[in-house]
């Protein structure tokens, strides 16, 4: 049924991304977090690797190799380097994938070639809302039909908002259904204010207020047969869960190595069962979570509905990523609390999975 080994091609992609993440992303993680800036050269390099383009349709300049499983492998490796930088790299896909999946031919032709060609993120996604019960399936943001198009009202937050952004996909409720609208970043009535969070400090994000934003009829993504954005939430969750596994495995590796090096009471702390069992638990939980992600991705690749599996994966990684990163801080003791070391950064980032949602990250 499910094969636990990646194909040769997937392994090659994974290893390439892993090398990039270890060599070029990880060393920049701390600086990016402290300065609140994504290193441009890393984005350019990621673009060269074609990490987003690869999964988009060939007709518009992509590689036509869409696979949720491959996407999950890539996402995990990138986040193993750093979550903020991984999200910045994947940000163009937040618009490009949904357009590819749900857009009409005209929408694809209008948006995809530029999204694929540009090294800067021209597109982004506005899904979450600044409320405790933010619900991706039932946004409070409303879209109403007008004589010649649509009118949007509402508020969004946690929107990746790079300087280069030109279009944002806004999820809104139309009557009782979920729909996506491509909104130019300069649209009248759209206001973006930078926001800041506990984690993902390097990723520029914004809170959006939409106040009577007028859009033409063709702004709505509705080229797919059922025109439903709902199906894409599962794809978002698979991608996010894969990222969370990457964060957790980074924390685990740091903790494991530290525990073997650090001595207390005359022996490596890893020889204390309190530490050894903690590390063992981390390893078990990470592998379990990763398999949930793979299973959901595998279903998506077979064209099946993966809502349940994706939700299980997301539910699991929320806890696992938090516990493992918190555990890494603990293993580092006082040093874990200091910003010279990475565990505290991983903990802050990991907590974000409690409220991140996306569409079609893979």
């Amino acid at each position: 049924m499910i094969d636990f080994e990646p194909t040769e091609e997937q392994a090659l992609i994974r290893d390439t991304v892993a090398e990039f993440a270890r060599g070029e992303i990880r060393p920049r993680a701390r600086d990016a977090d402290e300065s609140g800036k994504i290193p441009e050269d890393v984005l350019a390099r990621a673009h060269e690797l074609g990490l987003i383009a690869n999964g988009l349709p060939e007709a518009y300049g992509g590689g036509g190799e869409r696979s949720a499983l491959t996407g999950a492998l890539v996402a995990e490796e990138l986040a193993h380097g750093d979550l903020s930088i991984a999200l910045a790299i994947l940000a163009p896909g937040l618009l490009a994938y949904p357009v590819a999946d749900l857009g009409s031919e005209a929408q694809k032709a209008r948006l995809l070639p530029a999204l694929i060609a540009s090294p800067g993120a021209l597109g982004t996604l506005a899904l979450q809302e600044p409320r405790f019960d933010s619900d991706p399936y039932r946004p409070r943001t409303q879209a109403r039909r007008t004589a010649d198009g649509w009118r949007l009202d509402g508020a969004k937050c946690l929107v990746p908002w790079p300087e280069t952004v030109r279009h944002v996909l806004v999820l809104a409720s139309v009557d009782e259904t979920l729909a996506g609208f491509v909104v130019p970043s300069e649209a009248a009535g759209l206001r973006a204010t930078p926001d800041a969070y506990l984690g993902i400090r390097a990723l520029p994000t914004a809170e959006l207020s939409l106040d009577d934003v007028k859009l033409p009829a063709e702004a709505r993504l509705d080229g797919a047969p059922d025109g439903s954005a709902r199906a894409l939430v599962a794809r978002g969750r698979v991608g996010l869960a894969a990222l969370a596994v990457g964060v957790a495995s980074a924390a685990f590796e740091l903790a494991r190595d530290y525990a073997k090096e650090r001595h207390a009471f005359g022996a490596p702390i890893a020889t204390k069962q309190a530490m050894a069992f903690k590390l063992a638990d981390m390893a078990i939980e990470i592998d379990g979570a990763r398999l949930l992600v793979w299973e959901a991705a595998w279903r998506l690749d077979r064209g099946e509905d993966a809502t349940r599996e994706a939700t299980l994966a997301m539910q699991q990684v929320r806890r696992v990523a938090l516990e493992v990163t918190d555990g890494a801080v603990q293993v580092f003791g006082g040093h874990g609390y200091i910003r010279e070391y990475l565990p505290e950064l991983l903990l802050r980032n990991a907590r974000g999975f409690a409220c991140f949602e996306a569409l079609s990250l893979v």
Binding site: F132, D133, A196, L198, G333, G334, R351
Partner: protein, 391 residues
């Protein structure tokens, strides 16, 4: 005090990491100090009271609490192990100094944290001048900036007079602020409690009068029985923790309560009531989470008060102090993390203080004996194993 003096500047001194929160420090020195003892030093009675104050003030802001001009842990050490003369000499300035001053305690070194008996900082007795000469480097010293730099304050420094004696050779010395040879070489950037200074102090041929050896000259001169006299010194120093762990546990409870109270108020504002009177199966997951969090916090608080009240009655409380610290450190870490989650994107945002409380809470699981070290102490006691039988 917590809501009016601390909360309004919470965010500012979290962001402006190494700045001295002058309005708060001055306020506390002029006003707060008198009304609210709050000080970690001195008190051996009214310990529950001290814990309640610690909770209240950390409900305000744990970072600012740790930055209060008090004798703090240094004071606890002087109270626990000092002679009456030493208590008077070192603690009086905290009542009388015209300007704010700080006390601190420096045990931890780069390669000795949990294993405090492995410290390398040395103390050599210079008989000619009747002084002790300290050499070594201490890290993670809370309030170490103020305590080492501002006249009137002091740092209690743990050092070994003879490495071959192991923990038996460890003694503590009071090093007054500005003593030549004591240098402030760095301040840490941290996950949380950023208003609190965490200093690296270097001691280079730093000389202190023999009268500054905590516990007094008499004990130190029992050369005939150096090991036993010394071990008593170490135990005396460790006894500081019996007094300080309940306070740290109370501080933790304060941070947890800040997040939990806020969560409950915010949910109420959004129309979510917690129905304590309905059976668990008909409560929502959210209600159950909140009830769980409240139960955990209250259990931690009661463990804390019990350890403190035993102190009041002069009963040995090291088991209970470690229980309280282990429980409180862990539950507030979890409660604040959960509060961020339950508040959704706003919980994760810097617009609210909940994310800060999550960062502040975690330290309680680490300092004053990590979670694991306190579990170890509890385990030894309940299993009746010695420290060599269970490590």
């Amino acid at each position: 005090m917590a809501l009016e003096q601390m909360r309004p500047v919470s965010r500012r001194y979290d962001e402006d990491e190494h700045a001295l929160p002058t309005e708060w420090v001055d306020y506390y020195w002029q006003t707060g100090r008198k009304g609210a003892p709050g000080s970690l030093g001195g008190a051996t009675d009214g310990f529950v009271q001290v814990c309640i104050q610690a909770e209240e003030l950390c409900f305000g802001d744990a970072g600012l609490y740790l930055r209060m001009p008090t004798a703090a842990l240094g004071g606890s050490a002087v109270s626990a192990a000092g002679t009456p003369e030493q208590k008077e000499r070192f603690l009086r300035p905290f009542r009388e100094s015209p300007h704010p001053i700080w006390g601190a305690m420096a045990i931890t070194e780069a390669s000795a944290g949990s294993d405090s008996a492995a410290i390398q900082t040395s103390a050599r007795y210079d008989a000619e001048r009747d002084e002790w000469v300290l050499n070594g480097t201490k890290i993670f010293c809370t309030a170490g900036e103020g305590a080492s730099q501002i006249e009137g304050g002091f740092v209690v420094v743990w050092a070994t007079v003879d490495k071959t004696l192991g923990r038996g050779g460890i003694k503590s010395f009071v090093v007054p602020a500005k003593t030549p040879g004591m240098k402030l070489v760095g301040l840490e950037k941290k996950l949380g409690i950023r208003a609190s200074d965490t200093a690296t102090l270097v001691f280079e041929d730093c000389r202190v009068a023999s009268a500054n050896l905590l516990g007094g000259r008499a004990k130190a001169e029992k050369k005939a029985e150096p090991a036993r006299a010394g071990d008593k010194g170490f135990k005396g120093a460790m006894a500081t923790f019996d007094a300080s762990r309940p306070i740290v546990a109370a501080m933790a409870v304060g941070v947890g309560r800040a997040a939990l109270d806020f969560l409950v108020e915010e949910l109420a504002r959004q129309g979510v009531e917690i129905r304590y009177d309905s059976p668990p199966r008909s409560q929502t997951a959210l209600e159950r989470d909140v009830i769980d969090m409240q139960a955990e916090l209250q259990a931690a608080r009661l463990l804390t008060w019990r350890a403190a009240s035993m102190m009041n009655r002069g009963r040995p409380n090291s088991l209970e102090a470690s229980m309280a610290k282990a429980k409180a450190g862990l539950v507030v870490t979890k409660i604040t993390q959960k509060a961020v989650e339950l508040l959704g994107p706003p919980g994760y945002s810097k617009k609210l203080l909940v994310e800060k409380w999550m960062r502040d809470a975690k330290i309680n699981d680490i300092y004053e004996g990590t979670q694991q070290i306190n579990q170890l102490i509890v385990a030894r006691r309940i299993l009746e194993y010695s420290s060599s039988q269970l490590r």
